[in-house]
Symmetry: C2
Subunit: 191 residues, 2 copies
């Protein structure tokens, strides 16, 4: 990368991070001025990267999904060739975030705020659906995929209602979900 | 109930319903004036029932938990004497709400807003813990309880991110979770 391209990428990154923090604090009503100030970038500098608030928030949704997808890929064991390896990466990425004590509440509130915006709901839904389809192709029975994904969502949202989950319970749940991806057949027989 | 007591109970109910709607729309910053107007009650009438905003929101948290506890009890099959009957009531109450198309997003946002208030976080956490303890005594292995509860939370929150869940998937997930409560032993062997 030339210095100029690198600077542009860095500014874009700073703007997306600032947008995430600002939406978390101010909600969907946040203004571009607030985001620019938070990023330490002029309003003109912001507008150079994102022509409108819509454009900025759309890029933020994409960025959050891409970051999570990267985290999942990093958690896929390269020596693991068994069915369910992507699902295991998903479980590990989810629990790593929780165990690092990263602010799951803030993250979830941010995603919920973004997903509730009429223009972004569809985009976020499509992204989720693509995830579900990808994981459905991971070689594990659909029941197991459903259960593991729903439980991951439930664990991520739990601190919002219950406060921090006890480390023991978190570790047991993580291990339980990982084990559930080790068998490929249905868990129970449904009609 | 005498007419006067009945009227008071009705006003209290109207105030709690109005508070739920108002917090949903205006967030935690909602004023008592707004709630009173929404309920069609004078500010003095509101203050007669709830001496402060804290008192009103605390009563609202308690009310939401009690309403859900009632829904669970109503869903416990009186002819079901097997272990896990309460957990099955919990699954049915959760999915009935979703299937009725009741606004899960609104409900969850409301609970999240209330749970995030410093004064209420503890109360909400205690309530959740009591639920978990009650369900832990339902005769089903802890792994199954954990998994079913986390998956119920995940399903409840899903529409917030993914839009409405397909009816087929909802029905399958419900049935899967109910089946998981039918066996009492551990699902997998953990170390």
């Amino acid at each position: 990368m030339t210095g100029q391209i690198r600077d542009a990428a860095r500014t874009r990154r700073a703007l997306l991070d600032a947008a995430a923090r600002s939406v978390g604090v101010h909600g969907a009503g946040v203004t571009l001025d607030v985001v620019a100030r938070e990023a330490g970038v002029s309003k003109g500098g912001l507008m150079h990267h994102f022509g409108s608030k819509d454009e900025l928030l759309t890029a933020l949704v994409d960025d959050l999904f891409e970051e999570f997808a990267r985290a999942v890929q990093e958690q896929v064991d390269p020596d693991d060739d068994a069915p369910g390896k992507l699902l295991r990466g998903y479980v590990r990425a989810t629990f790593d975030e929780l165990e690092r004590g990263s602010d799951a509440v803030e993250q979830t509130t941010l995603m919920a705020t973004l997903s509730s915006l009429p223009g972004l709901a569809r985009r976020s839904q499509d992204r989720y659906r693509r995830w579900n389809e990808t994981l459905a192709g991971d070689g594990v029975d659909r029941q197991r995929v459903l259960l593991v994904l729903r439980a991951c969502d439930g664990v991520s949202i739990a601190p919002l209602f219950e406060g921090a989950i006890e480390p023991d319970e978190l570790a047991d749940t993580r291990e339980l979900l990982l084990r559930l991806t080790r068998d490929t057949g249905p868990l129970v027989e449904l009609l």
